[in-house]
């Protein structure tokens, strides 16, 4: 009996150590990236980095104000286009998507979810950039929105499905029409979860570079016109990191750090929202 117990404890201890070490490796990767970014980039972060525009190559100083504003505009516009479509699709899939059409939509969304982002960029180039005759922030936003829709749709569906069936029945038994049950009771109960999935989705596309390369293109000047090429942090990192100057490399690290911080902030906000779900009443 005691030999058996000893063996059981030994195996248990061994396995606990093993999975503990594996998760440490996973976390370590993230910590190394973050640490390296901070070590390389933090020293370049000062007020002028945030408020100045890039200076011509070879000169010292300059900042990424144009890229920060550009990221906010392009990602914001993408969210404006993508979130309503994504949330609507997700609601449809969860509430009415049990038939053949639902199956098709779900399948298409899953395929789109797995599509490399650069492919989406090519389509945006073909359908927007070429007809318009020039690169534009709008084309970039559309490409990002297209990446976002299937992601948001599927996560929204998951969140809405988490709402207990009993709540739906309770509303229907009270004489709620079906659509009103979906909006007033089901969607509202899942609201925190839906908003969380939106934030995660926005955080995901905020760092995308590939679909912007031949849509928004990038811009070394400050621009707020969505019909013109525009800079984003990810494009800035790409340009600077692949450039020949040490000064550019330094700025690339700093821009990457800012981008990482932005995504981290969004993720934290998502976490906080998920924690407060079901808690609040008006």
């Amino acid at each position: 009996m005691s030999v058996r117990r000893l063996r059981r404890r030994l195996v248990s201890g061994l396995m606990t150590t093993l999975v503990g070490m594996l998760s440490f490796v996973a976390v370590l990767a993230l910590l190394v990236i973050l640490g390296y970014l901070v070590a390389k980039g933090a020293s370049s972060l000062d007020w002028s980095f945030f408020v100045q525009n890039p200076v011509p190559a070879g000169q010292a100083g300059g900042g990424v104000a144009n890229a920060i504003v550009g990221t906010v505009i392009i990602v914001g516009l993408a969210a404006l286009i993508g979130l309503p479509i994504g949330i609507g699709t997700g609601l449809y899939l969860a509430e009415y998507g049990s038939g053949r059409l639902g199956w098709i939509v779900r399948f298409v969304a899953d395929v789109l979810n797995g599509t490399p982002s650069i492919v989406v960029g090519i389509f945006a180039w073909t359908w927007l950039v070429r007809p318009m005759g020039h690169f534009s922030a709008l084309a970039g936003s559309v490409a990002l929105a297209a990446l976002m829709v299937p992601m948001i749709a599927r996560t929204t569906e998951e969140m809405v499905r988490l709402v207990p069936h009993a709540l739906r029945e309770a509303a229907l038994a009270l004489g709620y029409p079906r659509w009103r049950t979906s909006l007033r009771v089901v969607a509202r109960t899942a609201l925190a979860g839906i908003l969380t999935s939106c934030l995660v989705g926005v955080a995901r596309i905020a760092g995308e570079t590939a679909p912007l390369l031949f849509t928004a293109l990038g811009n070394l000047n400050f621009s707020t016109s969505v019909l013109q090429p525009m800079q984003t942090l990810s494009l800035q990192v790409f340009t600077y990191a692949t450039g020949p100057f040490d000064e550019w490399h330094r700025l690339a690290w700093a821009a990457a750090l800012v981008l990482m911080g932005l995504v981290l902030l969004l993720s934290l906000a998502a976490r906080w929202m998920l924690r407060s779900r079901y808690g609040a009443a008006r």
């Binding site: 207990p164 709540l167 029945e169 038994a173 004489g175 009103r180 009771v185 109960t189 009443a281 008006r282």
Partner: protein
């Protein structure tokens, strides 16, 4: 078998059969529910009593593959007639489920008002009065009157279930359907609900599904025993429990099966 003829009739099923696809789970059941009485439906799990209950407010047809044959007459009108709007009908027949189902995003007040608001806009004062009235009838008012704006999920299980009763009562239904309303409650919560049934039957016609035979004996005027989708026996509660006419009923209420 038949209830006394002098009782004013309110709800009646005529040869009601409920099916999932081609499988009948309630077979050819005819019951009269006299006005302002409590009728308990008992029987082992899976005997069709809950499905039968869900046919009375047309909830069964919302289940995958659910449909019915036969008639359900409410004040003489067949609720399955094409001219009857199921959504309007459900406002006349309230329902409380096995587990408490307060809407988690709404306050206590909004939960009770939900069934009223869905009926169209009402004046603030009118709504306030209706909410208070419903909470009083559900014997919950004194416990929640100071925190009407608080979340409904902070209430105890028993309070949540009485909140669901209040929510069902607020639109002033004629019939109240209770589907094992005390199944997830402790003895104190169960007693509360049972006492409620006694008081509520002066205003409403109540049909309650229960697994608890003592509960059926305590609170109901009539009891129906279901087995494998058939209504085996229906009668005055004290008669059914003391002098059942069918052997199967006797076997069930004496605990020999089920």
């Amino acid at each position: 078998m038949a209830p006394p003829a002098d009782a004013r009739l309110q709800l009646e099923t005529v040869r009601l059969t409920a099916l999932y696809g081609r499988r009948a789970v309630v077979k050819d059941v005819s019951i009269l529910f006299p006005k302002h009485t409590v009728t308990a439906l008992i029987g082992p799990s899976g005997c069709g009593k809950t499905t039968f209950l869900r046919c009375l407010n047309r909830m069964h047809e919302l289940s995958e593959g659910g449909w019915v044959t036969g008639k359900v007459l409410l004040d003489g009108q067949d609720i399955y007639d094409p001219s009857v709007d199921a959504i309007q009908l459900r406002r006349r027949i309230g329902m409380v489920f096995q587990r408490p189902t307060p809407f988690p995003t709404m306050s206590i007040y909004d939960n009770v008002a939900a069934g009223l608001r869905v009926n169209g806009g009402r004046a603030r004062a009118e709504l306030d009065a209706a909410v208070e009235g419903a909470l009083r009838r559900a014997a919950l008012w004194d416990e929640v009157k100071d925190r009407l704006r608080h979340s409904a999920v902070a209430l105890s299980g028993g309070q949540q279930q009485r909140l669901c009763v209040a929510r069902a009562l607020a639109p002033e239904p004629e019939v109240l359907l209770l589907d094992e309303p005390t199944a997830s409650l402790d003895p104190a919560g169960t007693q509360h609900i049972e006492e409620l049934c006694h008081e509520l039957k002066t205003r409403y016609t109540i049909v309650i599904v229960t697994h608890n035979l003592q509960q059926a004996a305590r609170i109901s005027d009539y009891t129906g025993f279901f087995y494998l989708g058939d209504l085996v026996e229906l009668g005055r509660t004290e008669e059914l429990f003391t002098k059942p006419t069918k052997e199967r009923t006797e076997a069930y209420i004496t605990g020999r099966f089920g």
